[in-house]
């Protein structure tokens, strides 16, 4: 029987990095998110043992929770899509 994973509905891709002077290790955040059933790590940038950015699929509510939890330490932003800049029908910017 097939299952429908409601938890993945509405998830978006987020980009997570640290603020200047942050004491939080992204490596620890990575481990925490790996254990989080609501999160999927889509990419890790920088050194494997010392990442500089994480690309993570999250529900907006979970992203907001993390923002609150790590206020001033982490930057958590939507990993927005970029578009070529031609007029009108080609421009979705």
């Amino acid at each position: 029987m097939s299952t429908f994973d409601q938890g993945t509905s509405g998830r978006q891709q987020y980009l997570i990095g640290t603020t200047a002077g942050s004491t939080v290790s992204l490596s620890e955040i990575q481990n925490m998110l790996r254990a989080d059933p609501q999160a999927t790590i889509a990419g890790v940038r920088g050194q494997p043992d010392n990442p500089s950015r994480l690309i993570v699929l999250l529900a907006p509510e979970r992203a907001e929770q993390l923002r609150e939890q790590y206020r001033g330490e982490l930057i958590i932003e939507i990993d927005a899509t970029l578009h070529p800049l031609q007029p009108e029908d080609r421009d979705r910017g």
Binding site: E77, L85, E88
Partner: protein, 586 residues
């Protein structure tokens, strides 16, 4: 067999009647019956109908028209103006405007559809066959054809026989607003306002080949109007960009194109994380931008600004995100790229991208970014204070009058054209962030596999500035001497030279053009700097400088007494802008 007709513009419809204004003493009242006869006899006007007033007894004979009747007629706008002028205060000539019926929007705000608040009647539709032909009546395959009705638009792509059939629902064939044809390559686009199209006939559209306007193109090289406007063609022949490193962060660059063969040193596909797919450009956008920057300077096709520069193609489109942009910027820093072309954007902002842009600038990587094409506020990353932002301009006479490019003229407050024929593009994003403007309408450049297309966009304007920047970094004495080190001062100096060399364009709103159009000859001190119109900036500049010093450097009790220098001003203004942004005031 379906009959062929040539597609032309439909004449607009006007309503014509007598004004209720009092007649001047002794003046004869205008005879509407004579006017009706005049319209009927005229070969360039069509009388559609006569609206007789109801419930009024007419004193005129059966052959006469009631003096208060309203005539409905089709004619050109010019003829309508002439008629209005001849009739003076006694005659009213107005556009017979369409009325529409509406209902609340059926869509959420996140979904945008043209005129979504209009009811589409289920059983009303018009189906129009269109055939697109080019040189020697050859069918043009793959052309995008758009048909604009009153309430919606539809589009299709021509098949191998050049034909496409378009259906608009909720429309009748007599109220179409426009027909637009965008060929993939080799021809100019076409715009037919108010097209007269027949549902039961093959409506033939003839496209104009580039070779009709550029001698023997592409077998003879064409120097684009944009390059000429920036005086690239007047620079000494040894200014080729050799030694400068350029990165194009875009959709890749097709090395199948003659003008790009051997021109791209290396690349990387950040979306697919592959080293060898950067030269597959499905979008064509990166190839077009790269042609403007580095197109080969031989006898074929087009020429780029810096054909001997070292070009790196970093593919992040289609599907690219902020994370891919950061990856590409990091690679630029790693490779010590001199100048980056970013003809991409989004309405979202990012602190993480901002940090990367700042880091790039500190490492001497100059980012030149397209303002955006939504005709509103400058998009991101163009709105970042770390970059040089480029708006788009066009020039009259550089494209056929009936091409879609002719619709791109911005008509706002102030003059639409400079005396030289330059205009601001209606699509360009604008704001205080705009540093300079550059040619971005009807720009001819490369598209895969080995063709050429004329495109519009701030995307096309930006590579003009990137190309000139690469020439400066390779050959200007400042960057071989005092500004040779890769740091933020080098980037600041580059942006200052580009702005200082710019020809001011008076198009009403300076936010649409920034400092103006950069000039290669002036930038290299091979021609005098353009005169600045209006009051001398020196007094204003000195005053502003003093005020800025008080804000930025409060420990200094008295302003420094030396005359203000443009470069100091630029740096100080940039610091001030950063402070203002950090304070959350903008």
């Amino acid at each position: 067999m379906t009959e062929d007709i040539q597609v032309s513009s439909r004449k607009p419809q006007f309503i014509i009647g007598r004004s209720k204004a009092l007649l001047p003493a002794g003046a004869e009242p205008l005879n509407i019956h004579l006017l009706k006869q005049y319209i009927e006899r005229a070969s360039d006007m069509d009388l559609v109908k006569v609206l007789e007033p109801r419930g009024l007894a007419t004193a005129l004979s059966r052959e006469d028209t009631h003096p208060e009747a309203i005539l409905v007629a089709q004619m050109t706008e010019e003829r309508a103006r002439e008629l209005k002028q001849a009739g003076g205060d006694q005659l009213l000539v107005e556009v017979n405007a369409r009325l529409t019926y509406a209902k609340p929007s059926a869509y959420p705000q996140s979904v945008t559809l043209p005129d979504s608040a209009v009811l589409v009647p289920n059983k009303l539709s018009c189906t129009i066959p269109v055939v697109v032909k080019g040189e020697r009546d050859q069918a043009v395959a793959g052309a995008h054809v758009y048909l604009f009705g009153q309430r919606s638009f539809t589009q299709g792509v021509t098949g191998d026989d050049g034909s496409v059939t378009l259906t608009l629902f909720g429309e009748t064939g007599d109220d179409l607003q426009g027909l637009r044809v965008d060929p993939i390559a080799d021809y100019w686009s076409l715009w037919v306002p108010n097209p007269a199209l027949a549902p039961d006939k093959n409506n033939i559209v003839m496209l104009r080949a580039f070779s009709q306007d550029f001698d023997n193109f592409p077998n003879q090289q064409c120097v684009g109007w944009g390059q000429q406007a920036m005086n690239l063609n007047r620079l000494p022949g040894n200014y080729t960009g050799k030694g400068a490193k350029i990165a194009v962060i875009d959709s890749g660059g097709a090395t199948s194109h003659h003008d790009l063969q051997g021109q791209i040193a290396d690349g990387y596909d950040f979306v697919n994380q592959q080293a060898d797919s950067w030269n597959q450009d499905e979008v064509f956008h990166g190839t077009h931008c790269t042609g403007i920057i580095a197109g080969k300077n031989d006898n074929f096709g087009i020429r780029g600004f810096a054909p001997e520069a070292e070009v790196h193609e970093f593919k992040i489109l289609p599907g690219g995100r902020f994370s891919d942009l950061i990856d590409a910027l990091e690679r630029c820093i790693e490779l010590q790229i001199d100048v980056v072309n970013l003809s991409i954007g989004t309405s979202q902002r990012s602190l993480l991208v901002e940090q990367s842009l700042q880091k790039a600038r500190e490492q001497g990587v100059a980012c030149i970014v397209a303002a955006g094409n939504s005709g509103g506020p400058v998009l991101y990353p163009a709105s970042s204070p770390q970059v040089l932002t480029v708006a788009a301009i066009g020039k009259r006479g550089t494209f056929p009058e009936n091409s879609y490019h002719s619709t791109q003229v911005f008509t706002g407050h102030g003059p639409s054209f400079t005396p030289d024929g330059y205009f601001s593009a209606q699509f360009t994003c604008f704001g205080p962030e705009v540093g300079v403007c550059a040619p971005g309408v009807a720009i001819l450049s490369c598209v895969p596999p080995n063709n050429f297309a004329a495109w519009d966009g701030t995307s096309m304007a930006t590579p003009h500035v990137t190309g000139l920047a690469a020439l400066l970094l390779a050959h200007h004495p400042d960057f071989l001497g005092p500004y040779a080190m890769h740091n933020s001062q080098r980037v600041q100096r580059l942006f200052s030279i580009l702005k200082q060399s710019s020809r001011h364009l008076d198009l009403g709103d300076p936010r649409r053009v920034g400092a103006g159009l950069p000039d290669a000859m002036v930038a290299f001190n091979l021609a005098p700097a353009p005169a600045v119109a209006g009051p001398s900036p020196s007094d204003i500049g000195q005053h502003l400088w003093n005020e800025i010093q008080k804000i930025l450097y409060p420990s200094v009790t008295a302003p420094v007494a030396h005359p203000v220098e443009r470069e100091n001003m630029d740096t100080a203004l940039q610091d001030l802008e950063t402070l203002i942004r950090q304070a959350g005031l903008v």
